[in-house]
C-alpha cells in the first residue's frame, strides 16, 4: 500500500511532466546558465582554477534544485490538487516519498547533464576514473538536499511569500550536505584521487541523509494537517 501510493504519486507527476517538460527543461537550462556564470567568475587566462569544478557543480545543483522544487509544488497549488492528494485515503508519508522520488529523478537527470558538462569545461575528467565513488557522493548529496527540499516546498505551498522563504529555509539546513558533496567530489579530483577522504565524506553524507529523511517522514504528516 505504502510503496504503491508512492509509485502512483511518482507516476502522476511523471505523466504531467512528460506532457509539457516544463520543469525539466527550465531546470536544465537554469543549471547550465549557472555553470556559465561561474565560468565568467572564475576563469583567468582561459583556464579555471584546479578544484573549482566541485563547488561549481554543487552550487548549480542546489540553485537548479531550488527552482525545480518551487515549480513542482506551484503546479500542485493550481486548483488545489495538493489538497486532493492529501484527502486521498493513503498514508501521508507515502505521498512525501512519491514526491521525493520525483524530485530525485529530476535532479538525477540534471546531474547526468551537469557532471559531464562541468567535467568538460573545468578539467574535471578525473571524476570518471572513480565512477562508483562519484555516484555515491552524488547520491548522498542529492538525497539529503531533496529530502529537506521536498518537505519544505510542500509545506510552503500554503505560506505567504513562499518563493523567498524556500531558499531562506533550504540553504542553511542543507549546507552540511552541500559541503559534504563539494568536499567529496573535490577529493576525487585530487591527483591521485583521495579515496580515504571521499569515503569519509560519503559516510557523513549518508549519516545526514538518514537524519533528514527520518525527520521528514516523521514531520510530514503533522505538517500537512491543517
Amino acid at each position: 500500500m505504502f510503496l504503491r501510493t508512492a509509485l502512483l504519486v511518482l507516476r502522476k507527476d511523471f505523466a504531467i511532466e512528460m506532457k509539457s517538460l516544463e520543469v525539466l527543461l527550465t531546470t536544465l537550462f537554469f543549471a547550465v546558465s549557472c555553470v556559465l556564470v561561474f565560468a565568467f567568475a572564475f576563469v583567468k587566462d582561459g583556464r579555471a582554477p584546479e578544484d573549482a569544478a566541485a563547488g561549481i557543480l554543487w552550487i548549480a545543483i542546489a540553485f537548479a534544485g531550488t527552482l525545480a522544487l518551487g515549480r513542482t509544488f506551484e503546479r500542485e497549488r493550481y486548483s488545489e490538487t495538493l489538497r486532493a492528494l492529501l484527502l486521498a485515503p493513503a498514508p501521508r508519508a507515502a505521498l512525501y516519498v512519491g514526491k521525493l522520488l520525483g524530485m530525485l529523478a529530476l535532479l538525477g537527470v540534471a546531474e547526468g547533464l551537469l557532471v559531464p558538462l562541468v567535467a568538460f569545461l573545468f578539467q574535471a575528467s578525473a571524476w570518471f576514473s572513480r565512477p562508483l565513488l562519484l555516484l555515491a557522493v552524488l547520491a548522498g548529496g542529492t538525497v539529503g538536499f531533496a529530502a529537506v527540499g521536498t518537505l519544505f516546498a510542500a509545506m510552503l505551498v500554503r505560506a505567504r511569500s513562499r518563493d523567498v522563504l524556500l531558499p531562506i529555509l533550504l540553504y542553511p539546513i542543507t549546507i552540511p550536505v552541500i559541503i559534504g558533496g563539494v568536499r567529496g567530489t573535490a577529493a576525487l579530483l585530487a591527483s591521485p584521487a583521495d579515496e580515504v577522504t571521499a569515503t569519509m565524506w560519503i559516510g557523513i553524507l549518508f549519516a545526514f541523509d538518514v537524519v533528514f529523511v527520518t525527520l521528514s517522514l516523521w514531520t510530514f504528516e503533522p505538517l500537512m494537517t491543517e
Binding site: V164, L165, I168, P172, P222, L223
Partner: protein, 222 residues
C-alpha cells in the same frame, strides 16, 4: 514560576556582578595570557545557546505532534534567545581568535557549522515573521532540523581537524590551571540562569500577545 522569578533575577544579577571579580582573580593561562579569559564568556554563551536549542526543539516537537499551541510560545522565545546567545558566541569567538590565531575568522568545521546553526535559527525567526498565517508549523519543522544539526556542530571539533579547541579543552584547562574551575562553573551557571530568566520573560510576552490577538479576533467576529 511567578514566585520564583524575582529571587531568580536577584541571583542572576549577583552572579553576573561577582563573575568579573572571580574571573580577574583566576590564574592566567601560560601561553595565551589575558585573552584566554574570554573563555568564561564564550563557552557559557554557547552552553546557553544549546540549552535554548534543546528547549526550542522539544517545544516544537510537542507543538507539532500534540498540537498544543501554548507550547509554541516556548519555541519562539527559545529560538530568539538561541539567536541572541549564538551572536554572543560568534562575537566573543573572533575576539579571541584575532589574538590566538592572528585572524578574525577561520573557515574550519566548527566555526562554519556554528555559523550555520545561527543562520538556521535566524531563518526560523524570518519564517515566523514573514510566513503569514499557518507558518508556525513550518517554523516548528525548521526548529526540529536545527536541533538535529546541533549535535553535529558540537561534535565537529572531534570529527574534523580544526583550529578551534576540541570539546576536551574545558576539563583540560580546569586541570592544568587550578582555580580556573570555579569561575568557569559560576559563569556557566550564571549564563544558563540568565537564559531561564529571559525565557520566562519572553514566554510571558508571547502569551500576552496571543491573548491580545485572540481578543482582536473576538472583537472582529462580533
Amino acid at each position: 514560576m511567578k514566585k520564583m522569578f524575582a529571587p531568580l533575577l536577584v541571583i542572576v544579577a549577583a552572579m553576573f556582578a561577582a563573575a568579573p571579580i572571580m574571573i580577574a582573580q583566576a590564574p592566567f593561562e601560560s601561553t595565551m595570557g589575558l585573552i584566554q579569559k574570554i573563555f568564561y564568556y564564550h563557552v557559557p554563551s554557547w552552553m546557553a545557546m544549546y540549552s535554548a536549542i534543546v528547549v526550542c526543539g522539544v517545544a516544537s516537537a510537542i507543538y507539532l505532534f500534540k498540537g498544543r499551541a501554548d507550547v509554541d510560545c516556548y519555541a519562539v522565545s527559545a529560538a530568539e534567545l538561541a539567536v541572541l546567545f549564538g551572536l554572543m558566541g560568534l562575537v566573543t569567538g573572533p575576539l579571541w581568535g584575532r589574538k590566538a590565531w592572528g585572524v578574525w575568522w577561520q573557515w574550519d568545521a566548527r566555526l562554519t557549522s556554528a555559523l550555520l546553526l545561527e543562520l538556521i535559527f535566524v531563518a526560523y525567526l524570518m519564517v515566523r515573521k514573514f510566513g503569514g498565517p499557518g507558518s508556525e508549523k513550518l517554523a516548528a519543522a525548521t526548529a526540529l532540523f536545527g536541533t538535529a544539526t546541533a549535535p553535529f556542530v558540537y561534535k565537529s571539533v572531534d570529527i574534523w581537524r580544526t583550529v578551534h579547541p576540541k570539546t576536551s579543552v574545558v576539563p583540560l584547562l580546569a586541570s592544568s590551571m587550578p582555580g580556573a574551575g570555579r569561575p568557569f562553573a559560576l559563569s556557566s551557571i550564571a549564563f544558563i540562569l540568565l537564559f531561564v530568566v529571559l525565557l520566562t520573560l519572553r514566554v510571558k510576552l508571547a502569551r500576552q500577545q496571543n491573548t491580545l490577538d485572540n481578543l482582536y479576533l473576538a472583537q472582529e467576529d462580533r
